[in-house]
């Protein structure tokens, strides 16, 4: 290999630092990371990297084109490029312990409506159990003609379905009820993911056990340390609930309930009980901890709503956002996601002035019921400040509300179900800040 030049280590570091100047945010971080890793690798492999990144740019031959790359099955299970930084993140002060906490999906980095399994947001109440699928069973009993115990093999023999559906924690945005707080899209909206889920419809299972006429409710129970339990009405079970073992083309990830979970499309994520071990059919709801003490919505008069299952229509602009500032004037495609727990997204509108005037955005890609839906608005940015908003409308005609409308009705400490129009303040510099308009 021809060595272009062989500078001393300090000089190399200096060259990297000089090159990094003028780069912004992620570019700069990635460049520094790559450069420093290359320096660290010098002594072992004795390969001299080109310190100047432009050495890989036209008309020069890129360094990676000058030798053979990795062959097949070098990584039997592949992973993202080392230059990517796709990560779940959490807010450490939010909860007492990591085994009963939440992490958020990096919506700001997603391409398309499918959330990669490795960055689907996490919510545990007693950590991730390490379930052996051969020793896992689903028992269905209670008000049924034929109580059954099912193995994973039994379940996979049943007629299956695959559906692309979002899952959202009802506390998504909950840190923002009292005021703007989080300066990042990942933390304002990241308790949200969308995957393809494969499994058997719960209605198929209920046919198999034969629900007695007095059976109206189903208790779903997990095999985790919290023994997560929620009451699901029979109507939902017969409508679109899935008992899923597949996620994005492979087995569920342990974080999402391996080997078996419930999926209640469009409903608050907590009802989609993971590591599902038991379904009991009863005549009334159970009123367990996660549907009384938690996941109920306290109203200003001190009373509380219960069984607030539906995740109402919501949307957010993912580019620009605090993590994706504007770096240059000119053409700009404003991008984002919209979703509704009641069905398909019908339309999304964009406002540049905090909701005084609105323009129609386009929907793009797949528009599926209870799934993330992409929207797009092509415009130009020439350094003018914006109060940028998106407003989604679903197929039922529901229009995403303003924060003021929600607060007027529900007060400021509801914690759950904050689906109001979100505002990004785009400044003259292109930086983007989370603000609320009251």
């Amino acid at each position: 290999m021809t060595k272009l030049y062989e500078p001393s280590l300090p000089k190399l570091m200096e060259a990297i630092a000089t090159e990094a100047k003028g780069m912004r945010g992620m570019d700069r971080r990635n460049f520094l990371k790559g450069g420093i890793a290359a320096v660290a690798g010098l002594s072992s492999v004795q390969m001299i990297p080109k310190a100047n990144a432009s050495a890989n740019l036209p008309p020069n031959l890129p360094e990676w084109q000058s030798y053979l790359g990795r062959g097949v099955v070098a990584k039997p299970y592949g992973e993202p490029s080392e230059f990517e930084d796709l990560q779940r993140r959490t807010v450490p002060w939010l909860t007492a312990d990591a085994a009963s906490s939440i992490s958020m999906t990096p919506l700001q980095d997603l391409e398309g409506i499918i959330t990669p399994s490795g960055v689907v947001f996490e919510r545990y109440h007693g950590g991730i159990p390490n379930v052996n699928p051969d020793q896992h069973r689903l028992i269905i009993h209670g008000l049924v003609e034929r109580p059954l115990v099912l193995t994973m093999d039994d379940l996979k023999r049943m007629p299956s379905v695959s559906e692309i559906r979002f899952i959202e924690c009802p506390a998504n945005g909950g840190m923002e009820w009292r005021g703007a707080q989080m300066e990042a899209l990942q933390f304002t909206h990241g308790m949200l993911s969308c995957c393809e889920w494969t499994g058997v419809k719960l209605s198929t299972l209920l046919d198999e056990v034969g629900v007695k006429p007095e059976g109206k409710w189903i208790l779903a129970e997990g095999a985790d340390a919290s023994g997560m339990s929620r009451s699901i009405p029979l109507e939902k079970a017969l409508d679109d609930t899935i008992i899923a073992w597949g996620q994005n083309g492979e087995a569920l990830r342990p974080e999402q309930g391996y080997p078996l979970r419930m999926l209640n499309p469009g409903w608050e994520g907590n009802t989609s009980v993971k590591w599902l071990r038991r379904l009991e059919i009863g005549d009334k709801p159970w009123h367990h901890r996660e549907e009384t003490s938690k996941y109920t919505d306290l109203m200003p008069d001190g009373r509380a709503r219960r069984f607030t299952w539906v995740q109402e229509t919501n949307s957010v602009i993912t580019s620009p956002c605090p993590e994706n500032p504007l770096t240059q004037p000119g053409f700009l495609e404003i991008r984002g996601f919209a979703w509704s727990g009641r069905g398909k997204i019908k339309a999304v509108d964009i406002s540049f002035d905090g909701g005084v005037n609105w323009e129609r955005a386009e929907l793009k890609g797949l528009v599926l019921s209870k799934a993330l839906t992409q929207f797009s608005f092509k415009t130009k940015w020439n350094g003018q400040p914006w109060l940028l908003q998106s407003r989604a409308i679903d197929e039922t005609g529901y229009v995403q509300p303003t924060l003021k409308q929600l607060r007027d009705e529900r007060g400021g400490w509801s914690i759950y179900h904050k689906n109001s129009i979100h505002t990004w303040n785009v400044t003259e510099s292109g930086d983007v800040f989370n603000v609320q308009i009251s």
Partner: protein, 323 residues
Amino acid sequence: MFKSLNLGVAAVALAVSGAVSAGPLGIGSTATPEMIAGWDIDIRPDGTGLPAGEGSVAEGEGLYEAKCASCHGLFGEGAGRWPVLAGGEGTLDTAHPEKTVGSYWPYASTLWDYIHRAMPYPAPQSLTDDEVYSISAYVLYLNDIVDDDFVANKETFAQVKMPNEPNFYIDDRPDVKNERCFKNCADPKSFKIVTTINGVTPTGHFKEDSGVAANHYQGNPSDANGDAAAPQKVAMSDAATAGKAVYDKACQACHNMGVAGAPKVGDVAGWTDRIKQGMATLNDHAINGYQGANGVMPAKGGNMSLSDDEVKNAVAYMVESSQ
């Protein structure tokens, strides 16, 4: 062709086991009463599911202090960000509502069900039915819902009425109606722009000069498990190495965050004086429990299924990680 093959397989299975479902697909086996009895742990508001046995407020006091108080506080006041269990009456319609068992929970059955299925946090389903009755009775007592002579059993417990029960109602959303207006939909003169509070967001991953260090957030699974806060020394004793798993399972809930005065693993200053007492004393406190000036160490961290040796290994791990 494929369909008929499946039916054939089902028929063979039926002939062999004799216990398959008689449902439309003929898949699955009969869940026997014995199987169901082991897993059917739920309790309902009318008391359905409550087992035999009983426990008193007096018995509950000692159990609560040993197994619950380290996170929930001696009087249910909560430690750190662990749930507050008592108090909060009259706060639900204020700007700082405190949702406790007494002020908020609509049904006492939920308390029994939840303590039995999920508590103590590091050792779920380790309590006997009598212990669950006792601790449930004591938590109700802390909330002035039962008297100090209350004895909980299947009959008495099902009769407990919670004060906040009438204040729950079924979801009545959609509760707000926005219009799809396009022109002059709001008055910009009335806008008040509220910005975020500095320093609460972990932004180190995308803002170079945010003032919040990149390691302020827990950005990967090992961090999320608390490993980053429990740095391991390279050369640990065999006991300490074995103790890591025990620590992860039973101790980190408090010793990772410093709950209830627990010395944090890796906090050298916090451990120095404790280590000076000698391993025998530390082991004794960990195994038998200890009431210190700053907090309480429940016996075996409230997880009585641990052997003495397992606790000693965990202590060795914590000590060797904190020197």
